[in-house]
Symmetry: C2
Subunit: 209 residues, 2 copies
Amino acid sequence: MNRERRQDNRKRQARGELRIAQILDAAAECFGEVGFASTSTNAIAATAGISPGSLYQFFANKDDIARALAKRYIRLLEAAHGEAFADEVAKLPLSDMLDRIVDPIVAFNLAHPGFQALLADPGVPSQVSEAKKPLHAVMLTRIDAIFGVRAPELAPDKRRRGAEVAVGIFAALLRMVLAAGPAERPALVAELKRAVGGYLGPLVGEGAV
Amino acid sequence: MNRERRQDNRKRQARGELRIAQILDAAAECFGEVGFASTSTNAIAATAGISPGSLYQFFANKDDIARALAKRYIRLLEAAHGEAFADEVAKLPLSDMLDRIVDPIVAFNLAHPGFQALLADPGVPSQVSEAKKPLHAVMLTRIDAIFGVRAPELAPDKRRRGAEVAVGIFAALLRMVLAAGPAERPALVAELKRAVGGYLGPLVGEGAV
DNA sequence: GGAAAATGCGAGTGATCGCTCGTATTTTTG
DNA sequence: CAAAAATACGAGCGATCACTCGCATTTTCC
């Protein structure tokens, strides 16, 4: 309500901004361990080292915390996407292109393990899960643009489906990479690139990697 | 504890078996709509058209319901796997093999929408999520056997990784197929086969499909 | 310095949920 | 037909959880 508004407009001190960051860190940790639904707000407060009351000085409710965390992740990830989908990558050879796209996104997810935990959790409120839609849309648009450069004759619906399937394969193998131990990771990343490249290759008129 | 034992050993009447089936159907419906954690046992009872007390005549607790539902699904799915991984399929041409394996599993998941909802829910208790491990292991073993027939020279670790990645791709695109509308489905199933076939082809020494 | 604003606390409130219990009804058994 | 077993009920208990409230402390602003 307007309580939430008042909270947004409230003038934060440096201490407050710090607390907000602490709370989001704590929430990421808790969500990652037991999921959104099973995480109590008191647990988040305890993990952040503050009292339950203080938590509500900065967030209107539990959903609000998840929403803010998702927003923070998306802001960070968009920077990584900037590197990954720079204009010139579309013209690179397929395997180079995959290196450029895949590596930064894998690095981001390794650096922020809570990201997948939150955004992939089906128990999360709809307002949060919808936060990743623009992200998904951006990836699809970028891949669509890549098709535009590398396979302009491809029909639009096949393009779109190809992009969605490629993203789906990528997301699935990314989860496997994150779940694997550090020793297994490089080989799995290679398989990820082989799989996505092998799927895109024929669509794009280029041999498998 | 032994309360649970007593319940297992209790002699069920026909009426009781029917109630159990009703309860599992209701649970599948509820879990599918809001997930395991957010489903209340009273809601399951109400959906099944019985009282909360009656529910506990047949199940020791909420986890027990999920476990029984998972067991039921796995029993059903194993029949589908029987068709999918019959011995002779390993020798079929790659695209025929994929038809034989993919189609019945897609059909099963379409017929039982609660299956993915339950087994993919991260909020589910560990005893339930571990129920799908044997399922996963069986799939890996079968695919490993296929490698044994079609690419016997492949190193064991590459074999294993190839099988896991193939299953990962399959599972991800299967979820996309289930999420898509009926109109999109056939094309997506075709892409699923193209993706898995395209990944397996080089490993198995066969051209893409 | 002093008022106002921001931050901090933690016991407490109301609601929800998993599950129990006493009891009533139906079915099986001998 | 009884006695026993299985099924059925639903109010309510104890625990948990999201969130509040009254009040104390710290920081900012003039």
